[in-house]
């Protein structure tokens, strides 16, 4: 999806904050990801045009940072830490059980991440970049289910404050892909 006029104005405001506009690249990628649930090719082309870069340069940066997803991953990204302090406190078992539990759930994407700077909460996970820990696998599932049902309000897929209605764009596209659509 391409930027609308309103989005383009917001993007231009962002760019104007920096002494050199190209610095707005990461904020613009976050903005695009929040809107579509992942960073689409169209968005990368739009951003390239706004910043006067080639689309390849935008893709080069986008693919370097782990928070940017270039394919739909659903509505919730669950990041489980398995780095050392979590390693010795049950992180690996937690990520395995959540991966198994949500393997077929198009809303939920479970990923193993590097240290997220909350080792006092080991084993720790984030759901759309909100911290939860220490969690057993049962408690983790409970938290994720609360986000799914709306009992807990999730941040956006890039971790911005929740919009009035959480965009399910990532799940919708993922469902279409799963159907072969």
């Amino acid at each position: 999806m391409s930027f609308t006029d309103t989005e383009r104005r917001r993007a231009e405001e962002l760019i104007a904050r920096y002494p050199h506009g190209k610095s707005a690249l990461l904020p613009l990628l976050h903005m695009a990801q929040d809107r579509d649930g992942y960073v689409t090719q169209d968005a990368m082309q739009d951003i390239a045009a706004l910043l006067g870069l080639t689309p390849a340069l935008v893709l080069g940066a986008c693919s370097f940072y782990t928070m940017f997803k270039r394919e739909p991953i659903g509505r919730l990204v669950v990041s489980v830490c398995t780095n050392v302090s979590c390693l010795v406190n049950g992180g690996p078992a937690l990520v395995d059980s959540l991966r198994a539990r949500y393997a077929d759930d198009l809303d939920v994407h479970v990923e193993e991440v590097e240290c997220i700077a909350a080792c006092d909460l080991a084993p720790v996970m984030q759901v759309n970049y909100e911290f939860h820990g220490p969690v057993t696998s049962g408690a983790a599932v409970e938290v994720i289910e609360q986000y799914k049902s709306g009992a807990l309000t999730a941040r956006t897929i890039s971790g911005s404050p929740a919009a009035a209605s959480v965009s399910g764009a990532g799940t919708t596209v993922r469902r279409e892909l799963a159907k072969g659509g």
Binding site: L26, Y65, V84, S85, I116, D120
Partner: protein, 440 residues
Amino acid sequence: MAAQETRVITKFLRDRTDDSWEFAVAREHNQAYSALEKALGMEPAQLVEEVTKSGLRGRGGAGFGTGQKWSFLPKDVFPRYLAVNADEGEPATFKDHMLIERDPHQIVEGSIITAYAIEAHHAFIYLRGEFALGAERLQAAVDDAYANGFLGKNILGSGFDLELIVHRGAGCYIAGDETGLLSSLEGERAMPRIKPPFPAVQGLYAAPTIVNNVETMSAVPHIVDRGGEWYAGTGVNKSLGTRIFSVSGNVEKPGNYEVELGMTFRDLIEGLAGGVAGGKQMKFFIPGGASSPWLLPEHLDEPLDMDRATELGTMLGSGAIMVFDETVDPVLVAWRIAKFFAHESCGKCTPCREGSWWLEKVLYRMANGLGRADDLDLLLSFGNNISPGVTWPPGQTTICQLGPSTMSPTLSLHKHWGDEIRARLAQDAERRTTLEVAAG
């Protein structure tokens, strides 16, 4: 006397019973921005001198003198920039995370004072992308600072202008390296750049730039408020003042503890963090983040002193102390750290890009009983191409410190348990041969 914290920069956030960090509360109960008011009445050069006098050393990992760094800016070259490093990513470090979420005004105030001292009119706080709540609170703090005349044009009538931007990263360890951070802030992959030129000479947009850590920024208002001499009166040797240590792993009370430098590891780990969890024995501990070589229980009575750590063949780094009990296999920990570095290597320098990948593979088989007899020597041999000599302080064949950091776990395995591990590998190799023969 029982070990005690010395709370300077964590005083406000610890004294509170609730989580009210907001402007009005910080102003009333923590005199937020009063040090800025004082600083604006001083000359920038006086501030640099005061911070130099305090002996404050960067709290991000390298431990370089803060005032000294500021004084490296070339004279009369403008514009200059300040980039505050809030990209906390060194495994087991979680102090900046706490400071960002629970006392953002202290960081903003320290950043404004620093920008004034180095005569920068644009400052950036490069925030780790995963700190979603931190981003919200830091931005709110910045908005409040603008609304109350502490940021923007003609701050408090002093004639000093400053724009401060909170910039979110997107998940990348090496953006925490100061030159990697600058690349990222310019809208590039966060690839480190060769030094020299140092950022103070040629940094952001090729202009003179100071990169300082969040905890360093948080200490600045206190130094301005109470004077460099007061700060230099605490601590030990050339490690002055207080520092926040993040203690985690197999300990009873994992958490952040702000202590006067010079306290022993034992007082910190046993006295404050409650010692090894479940009454077990300690096998080893990592004193300064995943990049630092490891220490043993026999080192517990050593002081928290940056230069003493160097003598012991390690570093206090980012202040992250990881404790492991007797049931933990050091080879497994070495593998997990290698996996981390292999994932985070930016790929710019061949020895690190290829070497970190190899390290992970070999340590994986060693940790899983599939090691070959000469695996430890194999690691040391190719590690020699990443960090010549595999020693400490490390040599490097790479642009940044990530390369040599990949070797710290292997260096530690070799130094502390070399014979034991070689014997274990010989057994593994023998068992593998037997299995292969049995399988025909």
